[in-house]
């Protein structure tokens, strides 16, 4: 075989080898296409194209990354349960410990967003107990803190963030929110002794005054009826009117405290959503 023939043979072999790689490029292109749809926020179409890729790509090359992507699409659409379904599928098909961990963290984040806090905490505990992820303690504490934030338990959230760093930004923030919150028990208890006091404590002065006024009025009429030996009147006014307003007073104080706390939590979550620069669920 002379030099020209050898050269021809080499060129042909290069052509055959590169040509045989084309199919792989088709699947890569399809994956990139799905990614571009995701980037354009066309989540429904992105999921369709990823499903198309799974259907034709028998090598299952994208089974992990593709399912993670589908999970991300559903997450962006607020369909957290569907997202968990696909990320779990990705985790089952993970090829390395890193992929198992990443998918696990994503499932935890989705559970936090879905407010299935106990499930999120359980999954964090299970990752923590795995010796492979010994070095990930801080990250797991971080997500545990977020799980508590989403379940409105700012005190425990601050504790978890303090385990990462005593001056952690979220620790300071959670403590601040926790300190600002009203004590529901205290609001209720002081209203037992001084009607309207719980409303004053939560800043609802008008409601507090009205509550105090009603209780003074019906209390006065009840006592007056007893003093004048109108026992029946006293019992009726006392039980039907005074007790009704007295009970309403401390129930109202409790409701105000709960409502104010919810408003504060929502404000804090709003701040975290738009102002906080770190990782969020």
């Amino acid at each position: 075989m002379n030099f020209v023939s050898k050269l021809k043979l080499i060129l042909v072999s290069v052509f055959i080898i590169t040509y045989s790689q084309y199919a792989q490029t088709d699947f890569d292109a399809q994956y990139d296409f799905a990614k571009s749809l995701y980037e354009q926020e066309q989540y429904f179409d992105a999921i369709t194209e990823l499903k198309r890729l799974f259907f034709f790509d028998k090598s299952e090359k994208y089974i992990y990354s593709g399912n993670m992507f589908i999970g991300e699409c559903y997450k962006q659409g607020g369909k957290f349960s569907d997202a968990i379904h696909f990320v779990t599928f990705a985790q089952i098909n993970a090829a390395s410990e890193k992929e198992i961990y990443d998918a696990g963290i994503e499932i935890i984040r989705l559970n936090i967003l879905r407010r299935t806090t106990s499930q999120a905490l359980k999954l964090i505990d299970s990752l923590e107990s795995n010796p492979e992820f010994e070095s990930k303690k801080s990250e797991l504490n971080y997500w545990r803190g977020w799980a508590y934030i989403f379940s409105d338990d700012w005190e425990n959230a601050a504790i978890e963030f303090s385990l990462i760093d005593a001056n952690h930004e979220l620790k300071i923030f959670s403590e601040k929110v926790d300190e600002e919150q009203y004590s529901v028990g205290f609001a209720k208890t002081i209203s037992y002794f001084i009607p309207g006091a719980g409303q004053f404590y939560t800043g609802e002065y008008l409601s507090g005054l009205i509550s105090l006024g009603w209780n003074v009025l019906w209390g006065y009429l009840t006592i007056e009826a007893f003093i004048n030996d109108r026992v029946f009147d006293g019992i009726i006014i006392g039980s039907l009117l005074w007790m009704r307003f007295y009970r309403g007073n401390f129930q109202n104080a409790e409701e105000f405290a709960l409502q104010k706390n919810l408003e504060m939590s929502n404000k804090a979550l709003n701040y975290l959503q738009y102002q906080y620069q770190g990782l969020k669920p």
């Binding site: 080898i17 045989s20 792989q24 088709d26 699947f27």
Partner: protein, 285 residues
């Protein structure tokens, strides 16, 4: 030379398993993928894929599957649009008409459902004439049309079905409604009696006691020359008395609405269990 051949062999064999180029958008592959989605019950995506295949010359099986897909995701209007495109020469024509009858039924458009039945099943010959007759007879239970004779209604059903349909008929022809007028009058005569008539014994006794108590307190205070308090209790008593009458009338209306809701609910459960007398299609076997 030997080395070149080895390189070619290794190079091609490594990639052989992945060497099939796929045209994702060829009609054949779109259809395969759509069928896969359909069987995965991802009907909306399946329909979008099927619709890509529809040209001017629409494939009737595709149209039927699209119609079914939309009906599964409760987009009955789009389902109907697709079923109505199936022409009388198609093997799916009878099925499509039965599905249309079902979808108009589910949309609550009983008039259109009845007209489909008359035009396609009563006048013409159709393999689903019995099923359509059964479904059509249920329209009488939902709508306000005058009920025909019981024998006519239960005629197309089998023996087991006849018992259930017969009880639906009895209910519809003689519903256990309560009169709101009677409830109001009873409460005007004896406070709380209207509520007791509706079976709300607790509310009735409470209304009787509260109104009686205020009346007594008013009387007692007038007797003791405590006019201001007496008038307060009179006002409260009158308020409770009037409220009780109004409450009894409203409660009767709520009672009737609940009865009707429960009836419609049981009809829907029964029909759903019977798949609205339409066949199950096995496209995924």
């Amino acid at each position: 030379m030997k080395w070149i051949l080895i390189i070619i062999l290794i190079g091609t064999s490594c990639c052989f398993c992945q060497s099939i180029s796929v045209d994702f958008n060829s009609p054949e592959n779109i259809r395969k993928f759509a069928d896969h989605l359909f069987c995965e019950k991802d009907y909306l995506r399946a329909n979008f894929e099927y619709e890509r295949l529809l040209g001017n010359d629409a494939d009737d099986t595709l149209l039927f599957k699209i119609g079914l897909g939309y009906s599964f995701i409760r987009d009955y209007q789009n389902g109907n649009n697709n079923f109505s495109r199936i022409t009388s020469s198609s093997i799916w024509y009878d099925d499509a008409k039965l599905q249309q009858l079902k979808l108009y039924f589910l949309l609550g458009d009983y008039k259109r459902a009845a007209s489909i039945y008359e035009e396609e099943f009563e006048i013409k010959e159709n393999k689903y004439s019995i099923e359509s007759n059964k479904l059509n007879n249920f329209i009488y239970f939902f709508g306000n049309k005058t009920l025909p004779l019981k024998e006519e209604i239960i005629f197309p059903f089998n023996e087991d079905e006849k018992k259930v349909v017969s009880s639906f008929y009895d209910w519809k022809s003689n519903p256990p409604y309560k009169s709101s007028f009677t409830a109001g009058i009873l409460s005007a005569v004896i406070p709380g009696a209207g509520k007791m008539y509706l079976g709300e014994w607790g509310d009735g006794i409470t209304a009787f006691l509260v109104t009686g108590l205020f009346a007594f307190l008013a009387y007692d205070n007038f007797e003791a020359d405590h006019d201001t308090r007496a008038w307060i209790f009179t006002g409260l008593g009158a308020f409770f008395y009037a409220g009780n009458i109004y409450g009894s009338v409203a409660a009767a209306q709520i009672f009737n609405a609940r009865i009707e809701f429960e009836f419609n609910q049981s009809l829907n459960v029964y029909l759903s269990n019977k798949n609205y007398f339409t066949p199950e299609y096995e496209f995924c076997k």
